[in-house]
Point group: C2
Chain length 237, copies 2
Amino acid sequence: MAETKDNPTVQPGTREALLEAAAEVIAEAGFRSARVRDICERAGANVAAVNYHFGDKEGLYAALIQSAFDQVIARFPLDAGVTRSSTPEERFLSFVRGYLQRILAAGAQCRHGRIVMREMIEPTSALDLMVEKVVKPTSLLLDDILRQLLGPGFPEASRRQTALSIIGQIVFYAHCRPVLERMNPDFKLDQGDLESLVNHVAQFSLGGIRALKDAGQTRKRKRTPSGRSIPPARRRK
Amino acid sequence: MAETKDNPTVQPGTREALLEAAAEVIAEAGFRSARVRDICERAGANVAAVNYHFGDKEGLYAALIQSAFDQVIARFPLDAGVTRSSTPEERFLSFVRGYLQRILAAGAQCRHGRIVMREMIEPTSALDLMVEKVVKPTSLLLDDILRQLLGPGFPEASRRQTALSIIGQIVFYAHCRPVLERMNPDFKLDQGDLESLVNHVAQFSLGGIRALKDAGQTRKRKRTPSGRSIPPARRRK
DNA sequence: TTGACATTCAAACACCTGTTTGAAATATAT
DNA sequence: ATATATTTCAAACAGGTGTTTGAATGTCAA
């Protein structure tokens, strides 16, 4: 078979088994600590299989990252249920929910989210790909929502910090899960608790956004004490 | 000299040099990826020095963690400038500032903060010690401040989530620094930017806290539909 | 069937990493 | 000064890890 790598319809599917096993092992231990022997064993393949199919361990990881990105993006869109007529608050809620799902979802999907998180903490050669494919689009989407929520004229630097405050809250649950579980033995984050977590993060963040917005407008009003301080016409989109 | 390990006044101070070098290397690469050969080289010591002075690599790490905790706790208290008469907001600001300093301070102090962060992400045998010595006291202090800010009768579960939202914002800057720097090439967090960051996190979080508090009281008031449902007078500042 | 190619496998290889060793050097006490 | 204890050092060791190898097996077309 001359082109197994592009044709997923081979009989045993060693390549796919390797990717699946690699997702499990790497999500658990991280790329560096993951052993190819473990991956191959879990995939029911020989130790040499990784090098045959992917060149080396990094090649396997690159292929895994690529597929993980595609899967997580398709499975948990950050604008689920959002239409042209959705309010900024609805868009924000959808964003928070989608992001938390990516991180906390159970099963195979969760693995991909955790791999992405690990890559953010301990970057490898795949970081550039990840930034382009996941981080930048996410960042742009959130920035767009925040523009609507904060209103025009809001300082860009402060808006960026706001975005980081929101992302920080969310990814914290992925990063510090070991400590959270240690501190709180009955700490569980299954699908049931997710919606309450979404509501908390959204409510807390919208409160923070409002406080920043109010403070900004108060400050602005003080600077132009002549007339009403109505912000300039909102920029569309 | 029979007890060098308890007497820091030996001539060459190989032990201290090892601790210092270990702090640098481990803060940069993490415990698992840090090589004892690198540590010894940077300390100007022989490869066997680690095993002679600390038994093994883990022993060195344990000693480092211990001293790192003591130093960071002493250097950046989370209640600096707080007195009996301080308002909850002032206490909160001091907490945020101290925590951010621990994480972002330049130089040697910064290393210790980053080591603590790494331990939270990829736990080792030192996690228990860290939880007892740093995480729990921090958590208790923040919870105490939040009790004041949220007022009595606020649901405990929601207060805990609020604490996580605040901690999440802060540690995010430590966890995701690689990505932040990749996204924003001129991303720098020196002592100058720190105060503006402190103000942002505090303002954003206090806004979130007030939103949660208002929502809770509104909900409570709805249960007693006798009076108007106006949130209580805005708290100072 | 035969030949060519793809895939699997056990074994070995090469390298890295924490650790040990035994001798040499240095310091301390009597 | 001598003896004893402490510390340093180069070298080697032991285990683990990613990778390669070359033969064996399987697959498919001619």
